[in-house]
């Protein structure tokens, strides 16, 4: 009944934006575009090919030298423009939903500023490297904090990240390790909050978003576990960082906290059919893919499902994530082109492979 009511009244507030985001999704590069880009020999050729896509004159309008990092920053600026267009026209609860998407970038920005300050980098040098989607006031002041408590009470208490500080407040001094732990704790609180928000909206939004967020949570869990081999992070510490809104909760999390090497992690993953595929050894003859690549592939697969249904918010989240993946693909191809390493150029992840 809830779903029926949402279907009937969704377009009052969000119909225009859904149509707009679906139009933007139609501009995502197809396999033909990737094929053309892979054939290029220089970045100038790539620029020419990108002119015929939805990107248009994006790369042509600058006078600076065309480098891979310029391409990356221009693509990111393009996504930020599109997102701002959506966010500025959004009404609640879509506005809250879009804000949730930006919080993960805010967390990354905060941790980057802290680690940059630890390395005695100048704030003015770090600010341009922050992700624009995660910008907030007082970003420049983040580097002053010495402990997470100070960070919270002095700077972040007025920002949207304040509710995520429940478990992250501690008195230990912020060093590299602590910054990473802070990042994971904030992210855990954030993703659990986002998951329950989507669940409360219910209907198709929950059907599409909850699996995506559960996958995201489990992916973080696996990455934390794999990265913690060899560090002095204990099982209890690791458990405090694992998000509990994923499919691994509670049994998988318990087992992973005790895992000591890659084999044990693989054994845990084998209990879950989706993750078994990711951790499986590739078939002989197939390209070797890193764990990260396989996670990206699975993420793309889940995000593509959002566009099969109408009248839900999942399309907005999926559009942002797929556009990011497209940027990563283009940058990968650009790197291969500039370094003349065409052997691995086809290791990008295709998005919407069936369209032409």
């Amino acid at each position: 009944k809830e779903e029926g009511k949402i279907t009937l009244t969704f377009n009052v507030d969000h119909g225009y934006l859904e149509g707009l985001v679906r139009g933007m999704k139609a501009g995502i590069l197809t396999s033909t575009d990737y094929h053309n880009l892979a054939q290029c020999d220089t970045l100038e050729d790539m620029k020419l090919h990108l002119q015929s896509t939805d990107y248009g004159k994006l790369l042509s309008s600058s006078e600076e030298d065309l480098t891979v990092s310029l391409v990356d920053s221009k693509l990111r600026a393009n996504l930020v423009t599109e997102f701002s267009c959506l966010r500025s026209n959004a009404l609640p609860p879509l506005s809250t939903f879009l804000d949730y998407i930006t919080y993960s970038y805010m967390i990354d920005n905060v941790v980057m500023l802290i680690t940059g300050a630890l390395k005695q980098r100048d704030v003015a040098e770090l600010l341009p490297r922050c992700h624009p989607l995660g910008a907030f006031d007082q970003m420049a002041a983040v580097g002053i904090a010495r402990t997470p408590t100070e960070l919270y009470s002095a700077i972040l208490v007025d920002t949207p990240l304040a509710p995520f500080f429940q478990d992250a407040v501690s008195e230990s001094n912020l060093d590299e390790m602590e910054a990473e732990i802070l990042r994971n704790k904030l992210y855990k609180a954030y993703i659990e909050s986002f998951h329950s928000f989507c669940k409360n909206i219910g209907g198709v939004t929950a059907d599409i978003m909850c699996p995506v967020l559960e996958f995201e949570a489990d992916r973080r869990t696996f990455i934390i576990t794999v990265n913690s081999f060899g560090t002095e992070l204990s099982g209890a510490d690791k458990s405090a960082l694992y998000p509990s809104c994923g499919k691994l909760y509670p049994e998988g999390l318990r087992l992973l906290a005790k895992a000591e090497d890659h084999e044990q992690v693989k054994a845990v993953a084998n209990c879950y059919p989706e993750y078994k595929l990711i951790f499986d050894d590739p078939e002989p003859g197939a390209d070797f893919k890193t764990l990260e690549d396989r996670f990206f592939e699975q993420e793309v697969k889940l995000n593509m499902l959002a566009f099969l249904q109408q009248f839900h918010f999942g399309v907005f989240y999926s559009y942002v994530k797929l556009k990011e993946q497209e940027s990563r693909n283009i940058v990968w191809i650009a790197e291969c082109v500039t370094q003349r390493q065409k052997s691995k150029i086809h290791n990008y992840i295709p998005i919407f492979p069936g369209t032409h």
Partner: protein, 211 residues
């Protein structure tokens, strides 16, 4: 306290109102039964004392208003999708106005039926159930029924065409060959409004008000 823990403000309000409503009905019913006042709940008195004109007017009002609600609902659902999809794919703008026309047709059915029904209302001289006569009562009820029929069928037809039209606009923006296929679905949806009009005409065909 348990209730407060479970629900938020809106849910408490709705549960409270529903509970109050049903308990009033229950208590009033029980009181009437206990005090042997059941005779006061007299359906026949209600039906014969109300004028057939009330039923006729209700029918006319429902015919046009529910049809307009259905048409408006359908138009805004389709219209917002056309506007959104038309930003990146401007070619869909003109073709998808057909969906809006299908929704509008629903409102036109409503107004035609309202005019047809209202033309059947004539004055009569009786003022007691015997002098009013069975034919006038039948006329009143038929007009009310016809209005209800055409109103509700147009309401749901409009919503249906609207949702399908929204899907047609967004699909057309992605792939131009899909529009005609989805239009066929819309035509079937539009037919159900027509069914309502036909049945309503049949309901009012025997109506003859007057002396």
């Amino acid at each position: 306290m348990l209730l407060e823990c479970m629900m938020n403000g809106h849910a408490i309000l709705y549960t409270g109102v529903t509970l109050a409503f049903w308990s009033t009905i229950l208590i009033v019913g029980i009181c009437y039964t206990i005090f042997d006042l059941g005779f006061r709940f007299d359906v026949a008195w209600f039906l014969t004392e109300t004028s057939p004109f009330m039923w006729a007017s209700l029918g006319i009002g429902l015919a046009i208003s529910l049809s307009v609600v259905g048409a408006a609902w359908g138009i805004y659902i389709t219209g917002s999708s056309i506007i959104g999809g038309g930003v990146k794919a401007p070619r869909i703008k003109t073709k998808n106005l057909v969906s809006i026309i299908f929704c509008e047709a629903v409102a036109i059915y409503g107004i035609i039926m309202a005019i047809v029904i209202s033309n059947m209302a004539e004055s009569f001289k009786g003022n007691t159930p015997e002098t009013i006569g069975a034919r006038n009562y039948q006329a009143g009820y038929s007009m009310f029924g016809a209005g209800l029929t055409v109103g509700f069928s147009n309401l749901f037809c409009g919503i249906c065409v609207g949702i399908v039209g929204s899907g047609a606009a967004l699909a057309d923006a992605q792939n131009a060959s899909l529009f005609v296929k989805i239009l066929i679905v819309e035509i079937f949806g539009s037919a159900i409004g027509l069914f309502g009009v036909i049945v309503a005409i049949l309901q009012t065909s025997k109506v003859k008000m007057g002396d």
